[in-house]
Symmetry: C2
């Protein structure tokens, strides 16, 4: 299963086009196929994932790199000269010690990995940067995605900067502000009369019919997904080359969570961090919680759902990597948990008030699940914990606009201020 | 002229509270007063500015620091242990090589310094972090500001993270989304029935009447303003410890432009960069262009105006540092220029389409002025140029929401896509 770009471009791949990557390996049967725009195993249809032959990589080499994801280029499927190609230079975002939130929740040591300060304000800039590199090396003519939000922003911005023709497909009923936020970067925003599933289907159809299209989350998905590993690398490096004891990660397709685990395993294998146990926890919104439901039912059977939650960027009813999320959370002694939309809203305000970070609904879900995990005793409050914030609250203002506002409205005089009793 | 915090807190200042700062020096008469919450010269009422006794500072020391403004702590009025106090850790934002925009404008070598990826998405996080440090060292009880936008966000977020009581004053007719963007961080957002001038007056009145209030842009302004120097330091370091030949900077109060010049001069004095000529250009929107008007009239007399422009974050009709902006732009061989609101809108889309950066109206003003300076021959197209983007387009979506949108709306079929003629 590979898109039409293969035939034209595979022969002309330059040496080192994918760095230290060796092949695409099937996650199910282990079969390896050559690097290219393939995403499913030709034998068993399992998902393909990038496999590497890593050289020796040292902390010093990494630390001497740029303050973005390319400091980890030796561990990504990108060429050694990746910094020379125009890209959005995402990553190396803040890891903030969160003492106020820790105190509020009853945790001893907590950090927030804040990806809201990425170039287009979500972690998607990381994965899109890796997809862009693959598209370039595969000589793709068009860079594209179906999306309703963060991914559309990231693809449109990265495509503009790279100077590659970029087409973004969205449902036509998407709110105007979200359209603006992608259309500002590209004049090829296509509104599709239908829901997100319809848009997705159309993307797959185009990928099959047209030559030279790189759909970041379809035919170059294995390369795209590797970008999420950088979240794990950064957390370890920013902790002083140490893995956290516990980490809470949102689950949409589940890819991000599996890639953070992959990153931790790679760092251990390369001797860059000590091999010690860590627990991974997955976070979902109750209105779209197929993985959490399966976890709690102690089954591997993930039953697809029709999403109904304000956490739109997590609203994937049939998560492709859900089964791997279950496996990782169980293997590491973590868990998968879910919270209601009201709890999501509460958690957005909680994070803002305690740490000055304005997160979108996905981050609210993750922080809210962290809270629930503490309250239910599933998380060890004495252990060092990291929670990932994947996006920015400016994109989902409506989620809290009824909850916060002016404490008082006063006349412009000192007496009126004193009388207001604000302090 | 000093606020009531002085009396209570000056005696208890700890050693090194303001790092290598020596005193507050009057910009007009040179008179020096001790470090504290003062902002105007007791002799001549000129503005006070932080003066230093710098030790030897090396590139290596700076490069070994954190990826935020505290890598320059030796050059700021902050204590040596500043990283230990909770703050938003702003700065060290991307300096992006902008070849696409350069080509479009006819420039040989152009960079964009992108401050839209700061913690609350504008350069204000830099100045507020320095003001917060001063407030803490002066033992202020309340952290506050009058603002309509970016400053309110930055103060509310920094105050939340620092755990200090934070009060933000805004005009009561401010749009709801902008209120949410500050109120999410603080339960002490005060809406004032009046315009921004009324809010500002009220802030000054409270600063005079109440003990222990640190208004970032009033009584701790000298410390606050120093934060803008970090833009200059970062640009030089990111260019490989070199000053750019030309730089274009937006002008609101004018403080940022003067501080970038101060930063360049300090780097030269410290031997951190070669002493070579550079030109500084100021950017205003025509609807609030008192400095540009004075520049073109070849006078030092800046006539205050009533702002009427979409570039709200630059809409200061009586810019406090306007006279110094004129001096710097003339001394360095630069200029001050202004553009219309329509040109601002065009420039926002131009920057997004060429470099994947979504800027607010202030950044649109700066990029648009860059364009005009090239077209009018005031800028040397063969010289290396930097343009500063101070904020994020998500905060001023309305500016472009009529200009960009879907290229086509289609049925969810491949045939419909082909028929649309998008490609």
């Amino acid at each position: 299963m590979s898109a039409a770009v293969t035939e034209k471009t595979a022969p002309s791949l330059r040496t080192g086009a994918f760095g230290n990557a060796r092949a695409l390996a099937c996650r199910e049967c282990g079969n390896e196929v050559e690097l290219g725009p393939s995403y499913a195993c030709p034998d068993c249809f399992g998902p393909l994932e990038v496999a590497y032959d890593f050289p020796v990589v040292t902390r010093e080499e990494i630390e001497a790199g740029p303050p973005n994801i390319w400091r980890y280029k030796a561990l990504l499927p990108v060429p050694v000269d990746i910094e020379q190609s125009p890209n959005t230079e995402p990553g190396f975002t803040r890891l903030l010690r969160a003492d106020n939130l820790a105190r509020e929740l009853g945790l001893e040591k907590l950090w927030v990995k804040d990806d809201s300060t990425n170039p287009t304000n979500s972690f998607k800039d990381r994965v899109v940067a890796c997809a862009l590199s693959a598209a370039r090396e595969l000589d793709a003519k068009v860079f594209a995605c179906p999306s309703t939000g963060n991914l559309a922003n990231a693809v449109a911005a990265a495509g503009a900067r790279a100077g590659i023709r970029t087409v973004v497909f969205i449902p036509s009923d998407l709110e105007h502000p979200k359209q603006v936020n992608s259309a500002v970067y590209t004049d090829k925003l296509v509104a599709v009369d239908g829901n997100y599933d319809d848009v997705n289907r159309l993307a797959s159809e185009i990928a099959g019919e047209e030559d030279g299209w790189a759909f970041v989350n379809v035919n170059v998905r294995p390369f795209y997904a590797e970008g999420s590993k950088t979240l794990g690398y950064e957390i370890a490096e920013q902790l002083g080359w140490r893995l956290p004891d516990q980490i809470v990660i949102p689950v949409a397709s589940g890819s991000q969570l599996t890639k953070v685990d992959k990153a931790f395993q790679e760092l251990i294998a390369l001797g860059l961090v000590d091999d010690r146990p860590y627990r991974i926890f997955g976070a979902q919104a109750t209105g779209c919680s197929p993985v959490s439901v399966a976890y709690k039912a102690d089954t591997d059977a993930i039953r697809p759902v029709k999403p109904d939650t304000i956490a739109k960027s997590l609203a994937i009813g049939n998560p492709a990597d859900g089964i791997y999320v279950l496996d990782i959370c169980r293997r590491t002694g973590g868990a998968v948990e879910d919270i209601t939309d009201d709890e999501v809203r509460d958690a957005i305000v909680l994070l803002a008030r305690t740490e000055g970070i304005f997160t979108e609904t996905a981050g609210g879900t993750t922080v809210g699940v962290l809270k629930k995990l503490v309250e239910s005793g599933q998380l060890d409050t004495s252990l060092e914990t990291v929670v990932i914030n994947t996006g920015h609250g400016l994109k989902t203002l409506d989620a809290v606009s009824d909850r916060v506002g002016a404490a008082a409205t006063i006349a412009p005089t000192y007496d009126a201020f004193v009388a207001s009793g604000i302090l």
